[in-house]
């Protein structure tokens, strides 16, 4: 939990949950597991506010609680992790993926679950049906069964999962519900049980929910609120009480990873090869565990049979494509045997490593120029090189090569390795070799990315704060315009209201909107890089452990 991560998490919490939750959240992140008293004391907030913030954090899965370390009588401890909060950056991508896979219904289901943290199936179905009905034409409404079927599909493909049930969470002496048999000793709980350790994780409950979406009556705001409140307070039991669902981020990440591999193959080779790789990945979706190094071997016959119908390439051509893929230096596809016409695997971890390497190279290229990038790539391939060798291999004049190497060295992208000839490390009798270590460099760039996003968010908040008065004015005028239009005003009135914003103010507003959109867009783009580097770093962690 580096300082940059904590800063970014604080900003994300502030934007989405308010400043109170930000204070409590950063306190938890900085100081590890604490009980309620400590949090209240350290943050200096009132008891009620701290309790509410903790509830919000637990509801959204950002904070876990467990019984205290000192035994059954000690107060519950709360701990938080950066990972879950950093996912907030990726929410738009999750929603968009759900839209591409399952249409508008899927998109709204995921969006509701991301906004609320945990929800029951019946609650989600009702809210989503209401929202869909709002956007439909008059007289048409969305049936609950359609939304339920979309929900079930999401659960079947593991995009949604049940929240792990908490055994005796209310009592102070609750033991952590570990999947295996737990000894009676109240030792410090190890990693909390993953949702997947429970057998019913992906089982859709039997739910009695019949009806259609309700359209919100466009009454006055007060009435609307009361209606909404009354709806929420309706205690109808639908047979799935106590079963809460959350979004399964890991599954989305696997999907993004597959997409990254497929698009890399499409860029490097051609469309047909990417279709072949896509087929292979689709066939191994269910058989591959999330942390696997490569997919299960698939025979060429199986691949041939499973290719989509639009791609009727003859069998020998398929074999040629597969051979090409295997021989490609990116090593996305490997050959694992000869039976069945050739057994092929997709090398997941190696693909991730190559994608991360390409990212690093591109970063060096964009920051320092193509010749520095050439030196960087050279060092990645040849591991250790002396100064003279770098100049020769890269075919760059000595003075410039030295300059570039020193710039890279000062930015910590390249490291110096000393190999002594004599035990006293005398400088005239030591080899100095330049080298690049991919994993530490990737970690460093990942931290840079976090810092970048935090800076982008801060700048955006600064810009909005600078023009706060103007923004409020424009919001008020938009509200007036909307209400005038709804009540059918004449065009002169509308133009009169519009002219309340002067032309230079309009220009300023446009410029502001442009800046804010750019900053937001940039955050999304940096998050794509963050995803690649994070997946790479995590894949190496699991393979070495």
């Amino acid at each position: 939990m580096t300082a940059q991560e904590v800063r970014l998490c604080g900003l994300l919490l502030r934007e989405h949950f308010g400043e109170v939750v930000e204070k409590v959240g950063t306190q938890l992140l900085r100081s590890g597991a604490q009980n309620l008293r400590t949090i209240i004391h350290e943050t200096g907030l009132s008891v009620d506010l701290v309790k509410k913030s903790l509830m919000v954090l637990v509801q959204h899965g950002a904070c876990l609680f467990s019984s205290g370390r000192k035994g059954p009588g000690s107060p519950t401890e709360y701990r938080s992790g950066c990972d879950r909060i950093l996912r907030i950056l990726r929410y738009p991508r999750y929603i968009y993926t759900a839209k591409t896979l399952y249409g508008d219904t899927g998109e709204l289901i995921i969006e509701e679950l991301l906004q609320r943290g945990h929800m029951t199936m019946s609650g989600t179905v009702k809210t989503v049906a209401d929202r869909l009905t709002q956007n439909m034409e008059e007289g048409r409404s969305m049936d609950y069964s359609e939304v339920s079927s979309a929900f079930s599909k999401l659960v079947e493909t593991h995009f949604l999962q049940r929240c792990p049930p908490l055994a005796g969470a209310g009592t102070a002496d609750s033991t952590n519900p570990a999947p295996g048999a737990t000894p009676a000793t109240p030792s410090t709980p190890s990693a909390p049980p993953t949702p997947e350790s429970f057998p019913d994780c992906y089982k859709v409950p039997h739910m009695t929910l019949v009806g259609r979406g309700k359209r919100q009556l466009t009454a006055e705001d007060g009435e609307d609120q009361r209606n909404a409140k009354r709806q929420k307070m309706d205690p109808e039991a639908h047979g799935d009480e106590g079963i809460y669902w959350q979004v399964n981020f890991e599954r989305f990440h696997l999907h993004f990873r597959d997409q990254a591999i497929i698009s890399a193959v499409a860029n490097k080779l051609d469309q047909t090869s990417s279709e072949i790789v896509r087929t292979m990945l689709r066939m191994s979706e269910v058989t591959t565990s999330p942390a696997a190094t490569c997919t299960k071997p698939l025979s060429a016959n199986e691949i041939f049979r499973s290719l989509p119908a639009s791609y009727n390439i003859p069998r020998p051509i398929l074999d040629q494509y597969l051979t090409l893929l295997v021989d490609d230096p990116m090593e996305f596809v490997g050959k694992a045997g000869e039976s069945g016409g050739g057994m092929y695997v997709v090398n997941l971890h190696r693909a991730l490593a190559n994608l991360a390497r390409a990212t690093l190279e591109s970063v060096v290229q964009e920051r320092f120029g193509s010749r520095s990038a050439r030196i960087f790539r050279l060092l990645l391939r040849k591991r250790h090189l002396e100064q003279k060798q770098v100049e020769d291999f890269a075919m760059i004049p000595a003075k410039e090569a030295k300059d570039m190497l020193y710039t890279l060295l000062s930015q910590n992208l390249v490291q110096l390795q000393e190999i002594p000839k004599t035990p006293d490390y005398a400088p005239s009798r030591t080899f100095y070799l330049y080298t690049v270590n991919q994993l530490p460099t990737a970690r460093m760039l990942l931290q840079n990315c976090y810092k970048t996003v935090a800076n982008l968010i801060e700048r955006r908040l600064f810009e909005s704060k600078e023009s706060k008065r103007l923004l409020e004015k424009s919001q008020r005028i938009e509200a007036i315009l909307a209400s005038l239009q709804a009540s059918g005003a004449e065009p002169e009135q509308l133009t009169e209201v519009e002219e309340m914003i002067t032309a230079p103010e309009k220009q300023q507003l446009d410029g502001l909107r442009l800046h804010i959109n750019k900053l937001d867009s940039a955050e999304n783009q940096v998050d794509e890089t963050i995803f690649l580097l994070e997946s790479y770093v995590n894949s190496t962690a699991t393979s070495t452990s």
Binding site: G18, V21, V58, P92, I95, G369, K402, P427
Partner: protein, 223 residues
């Protein structure tokens, strides 16, 4: 790195192997911190535009806007006002309505987080006020037991009334009406019965509880 040890020209590393030839001088040393926004030799690439990027942008901004209106966006009622306004008495209760729209499943939370606030605007006021009044009393060391017992009985009675009424389906309208009634009534009671004076107690602010109370759900102005 500079020459050490009686101005000898030897450096700590071998000059040849690191590539500095004779006759070349080292670059000048920096005497001040690097500039905050250094000039970039390579300009960064433009952002990728396109339909997908724009849709993602719209999704992101919508999501942020939606989160602000949900009950999980916690904002303490802004107690920092430059000038106290008469309308604040009636405005402050509006903000806190969103908080209890969300009824969490208490089974999933530790018991200590339970806030038994059935009606935030009401109970928040009464709890903090009665706490504040009790604290004031303890500080002043004037224990008027009769007044305290009366007060507690009254607030408890009102809480019970609210709880029983909540179970009705049309509780909302009634609650709001009772809100205003009971609010005025309670204000009247608390103000007047304290210490049997003719003056409204909160006029006399001895500054002891300055900044000590929780400042949300202010029904009265502080002078």
């Amino acid at each position: 790195m500079a020459a050490r040890g009686r101005s000898r020209r030897t450096l700590s590393f071998s000059v040849d192997s690191v590539g500095i030839n004779r006759g070349e001088s080292l670059p000048p040393t920096l005497q001040q911190p690097t500039p905050v926004f250094p000039v970039m030799e390579q300009k960064p690439l433009p952002l990728t535009g396109g339909e997908e990027a724009e849709y993602l942008l719209a999704l992101k901004q919508d999501f942020r806007g939606a989160m602000r209106s949900l009950p999980c966006f916690i904002q303490p009622a802004a107690a920092l006002r430059d000038v106290e306004r008469y309308s604040d008495k009636y405005h402050s209760s509006e903000h806190t309505d969103g908080l209890m729209d969300w009824t969490p499943d208490w089974q999933r939370f530790p018991r200590e987080l339970r806030i038994h606030v059935k009606k935030p605007a009401r109970d928040g006021v009464s709890v903090t006020r009665s706490d504040a009044q009790l604290a004031q009393k303890k500080k002043k060391k004037k224990v008027r037991e009769k007044e305290e017992v009366l007060l507690k009985l009254e607030t408890l009675q009102k809480k019970e009334e609210q709880q029983s009424e909540e179970d009705d389906d049309n509780a909302e309208q009634k609650k709001k009406q009772e809100d205003d009634d009971a609010d005025g009534e309670e204000e009247y009671d608390e103000e007047e019965f304290e210490e049997e004076t003719d003056y409204i107690m909160s006029y006399f602010d001895n500054g002891e509880d300055f900044g000590g109370d929780s400042d949300d759900n202010m029904d009265e102005a502080i002078y």
